[in-house]
Amino acid sequence: MSENLIAYDDAIAAFDPAMGLEVHVELNTNTKMFCGCAVEFGAEPNTQTCPTCLGLPGSLPVINGKAVESAIRIGLALNCEIAEWCRMARKNYFYPDMPKNFQTSQYDEPIAYDGYLDVEVDGETFRVEIERAHMEEDTGKSLHVGGSTGRIQGADYSLVDYNRAGIPLIEIVTRPILGAGEKAPAVAKAYVATLRDLLLGLDVSDVRMEQGSMRCDVNLSLAPKGSDKLGTRTETKNVNSLRSVERAARYEVSRQATLLTEGTSILQETRHWHEDTGVTTSGREKSDADDYRYFPEPDLVPVAPSREWVAELKAALPEPLREKRARLQADWGFTDLEMRDVVASDAVTLIEQTVAAGTTPQAARKWWVAELTRRANEDGVELTELPITPAQVAAIQALVDSGSLNDKLARQVFEGVLAGEGEPDAVVAARGLAVVSDDGALGEAIDRAIEANPDVAEKIRDGKHAAAGALIGAVMKDMKGQADAGRVRELILEKLA
């Protein structure tokens, strides 16, 4: 922790945190929210635009029906009420990445409201209340050129790419999460992770935080322990990963606690999270009275989903997350502790997919939760960001099952795949990692080992088979580990019988 901030544990002992999370989800519709433009990520700048998403004079919006459907399904999965009648609204403010200088969003008539999502932290369940989920459009993307930080401060000029302008977003807002105490940051992280899994299950977004298709703003305020009044809150943006959610929350707790202890009041503002330095810095002052002059969007007709349609969508929802996890745990035969670790490592879906590719659950768990989670932590990335897929993990385990690899060699193959050397088979071939199963080659190595260790060989001939271990070790070394130890032992005992 930089600066002289009160340590988190001390801070949380003196103050109660209230946290709120705003998550923006980019929907995976084929076209934008209000026009027919494509939404592919990574296209050349300003090639996926039209008069409507550029806000050209005279252009008009037409609402994306699939986006409405996704919004309703998200609301239903979050146990929300679905509005019988609601409108889009204009949120008016000036910014170059917003072509109309208003964002078409929803104001006091969100399509979904009053829901909840249960999340688990260390075996304890927290119910996060969802205030609302509403539809809106994304803005364009600014690129600030010339400054040292890539941010607008200090830049020479800025470029704007409107490909992203108009992409459908669903904004999900929680009610303040209270009473979580020291677990608040963990609850926040668990909420975002659980929400992400839920959205993946609905297939409404690819929810990749590193690509910006899921964005999280962390709101936090502190109140002295035992007080029932809420403190002044800050909003922290640029929280681009699950780990950042927890880290940013913990940092803000420390920062605010330090200020409050000194007697300084908290400024209600927007802050920017820096993953590299682990701090938040002041952004722009945010006032609740930011006057967006909301009024209902007159170019669109109200959205009034019929109760029949809502019931149809509800009936077709995928299995609720809680039940799904319980079912998987039972199917996989994991203990509660094992399942908790799986959830905490954010590996449920990864294991599911690996099992689907043919691996046993325990093997999948071993690789994802033990091995790869450690690797992800070392590299400072999310488990899902590691450059290895469930299919690849399954392939490596299959090689182990068939005897082509042993555990140690398998780990080298993992290394190779993560390093980008290619598919498991290719790595095995390129690095020459396959277990040698040719008895002739093994026999030669065994002969060399016997010759180098005559006394050990003598003991074995005398019946002390336990001594074989030393020879096995020598052979394995000779074979650079590329032998099946069990077979080596068999052959040794045969030779020295």
Binding site: P51, L54, G55, L56, P57, G58, S59, L60, P61, V62, I63, R90, N92, F94, Y95, P96, P99, K100, N101, F102, S158, V160, A289, D291, R293, Y294, F295, P298, D299, L300, V301
Partner: protein, 506 residues
């Protein structure tokens, strides 16, 4: 009679009969524009090349026996508030000087598909804010009846073009009367359709919940024919009505027989009398008497909430406009002005400097008013209240239409005033719209046709007919009937009595 004075319907017949070509007609109108527009200033941009090319294509279709529509080859002018691909679209503002849209508005696309050559873009009050076309950043348009007088607004250019025989047809837009009031003061016909009846895609928005595109013509039948070309559902406009178009031309032809037996005509007591020029009221009353002669039954109706209509309009319209005009910020298109004395301006500095330089006073006035009305703490008192008044106005119309098939009033309280006369008094200017605004607030259609000349000044007076939503055909029927009877009295169209312009070829 020169081709210039013929109606569009007559020109269409002549084209069909091979008596004239579209190239000839288009050239004749271009010549008239060249002859008189120096004085009238109806046009901001003339596209001779494009119009003649379209005319030639039309003639080729006629020769092949495959005309694109009944109006194929009849030239038309378009108000500069509609996007035209490749042609400048300024909305009468400096902030869009030189902007060339990369797309066509739906109405323009339909005109092109129907084969009408587009002569050019017509002058207007900046961003449609005005009732006199004096707020154009490019100078006012002059009323062909008296060049020292206003042609009405905001669509003064389209109305003047048609009144000066520079075009047989024009497209206008009407948010609070901007087609109908210019029609009244120039002796032409103007119609605002049912809200949603004609696509707004490509219409640079002033007030989305009020704006509509409509025909500007010299006869009621011409209006109906043009309406049939441009009207109807557009999937690009979420507020457009998904219903088949009415049989407007049929209604006009039926009406022209002059028989209105069984038609109940409601005279709105709040729209007339005090505040209305004597001659305007007189011509209106005389026209009502003619309707009686045609067999109509007159009823007096009262719409008490109309006294609040102007106030409600001047809250709703600027509110929506303040948001619609936010996009003009120098970032993507249009004017860009760098702030003086600031070597390192931020984007916001540039936005401010550009909007200050690029918007005229009336536009600024309405943006400020609208921003204020929508601001936190005031929304309920202003915009919210105004929308409630809007409901009351709709209810008054509903009650009135239970007693009458159409409602009538003078279109505007006065005839054309002198250029400069009301510029210093915005509120006096706003009062020009008092009779036209209620129809926009309620979304119902309205037509203005010439009712004669006011005795005291010899200037045109407009007669307004209103119908329930989707009742546009009633306007054509009653309008055509009244027009037939009036023209019988006059011995021809009212424009025959207009003074000839210097150099006019008509």
């Amino acid at each position: 009679m020169s081709w210039l004075k013929k109606s569009a319907a007559e020109l269409a017949d002549a084209l069909a009969a091979g008596e004239v070509t579209s190239v000839e007609l288009t050239q004749a109108h271009l010549d008239q524009i060249a002859a008189v527009d120096g004085a009238v200033h109806a046009f901001l941009h003339v596209d001779a090349e494009g119009a003649l090319a379209a005319a030639a294509a039309s003639d080729a279709r006629r020769a092949a026996g495959t005309p694109a529509s009944a109006l194929d080859g009849v030239p038309i002018a378009v108000k500069d508030v509609l996007a035209t691909e490749g042609l400048p679209t300024t909305c009468g503002s400096k902030i869009l000087e030189g902007w060339i849209p990369p797309y066509d508005s739906t109405v323009v696309a339909r005109l092109k598909a129907a084969g009408l050559p587009i002569l050019g873009k017509t002058n207007m009050d900046e961003f449609a804010m005005g009732s006199s076309t004096e707020h154009s950043a490019y100078g006012p348009t002059h009323n062909p009846w008296d060049l020292d007088r206003i042609p009405g607004g905001s669509g003064g250019g389209s109305a003047a073009a048609v009144a000066a025989f520079e075009a047989p047809l024009a497209i206008g837009t009407d948010t609070g009367g901007s087609i109908r009031q210019p029609g009244a003061v120039t002796g032409t016909v103007g119609l605002k359709p049912t809200y949603g009846g004609i696509s707004r895609y490509g219409l640079v928005a002033m007030a989305n919940s009020l704006d509509q595109v409509g025909p500007v013509t010299r006869t009621v039948l011409d209006s109906a024919l043009l309406h049939e070309v441009i009207g109807g559902y557009d999937p690009l406009d979420s507020t457009s009505i998904d219903e088949p178009l009415g049989a407007f031309a049929d209604a006009a032809r039926t009406g022209a027989a002059g028989d209105l037996n069984g038609v109940r005509v409601g005279v709105i007591s709040e729209l007339g009398g005090e505040g209305y020029q004597a001659g305007v009221q007189q011509r209106f009353d005389e026209a009502v008497a003619l309707l009686v002669k045609a067999g109509a039954e007159i009823v007096e109706v009262s719409c008490p909430s109309f006294v609040h209509a102007l106030a409600a309009y001047y809250l709703i319209m600027p509110s929506e406009a303040s948001s619609n005009l936010a996009r003009f910020d120098a970032m993507r298109y249009g004017l860009r002005v760098l702030p003086e004395g600031n070597p390192d301006p931020s984007a916001e500095d540039v936005m401010r400097a550009t909007r200050d330089a690029g918007f005229g006073d009336e536009v600024k006035r309405r943006i400020i008013l609208g921003t204020y009305a929508l601001s936190s703490g005031y929304y309920d008192a202003y915009y919210g209240q105004a929308q409630k008044v809007r409901t009351l106005i709709s209810q008054d119309f509903e009650a009135a239409f239970a007693q009458a098939d159409v409602l009538v009033s003078p279109t505007a309280p006065t005839t054309a005033f002198k250029i400069g006369e009301k510029l210093d008094d915005p509120l006096a200017m706003y009062l020009n719209d008092v009779a036209t605004i209620p129809a926009n607030l309620a979304g119902i259609p309205g037509l203005s046709l010439p009712a004669g000349l006011a005795p005291e000044d010899g200037l045109p007076v407009g007669f307004q007919i209103l119908a329930p939503a989707l009742g546009d055909d009633r306007l054509y029927r009653v309008g055509a009937a009244l027009e037939a009877l009036l023209e019988q009295e006059w011995g021809g169209g009212l424009l025959d009595q207009a003074p000839a312009l210097d150099g006019s070829k008509a």
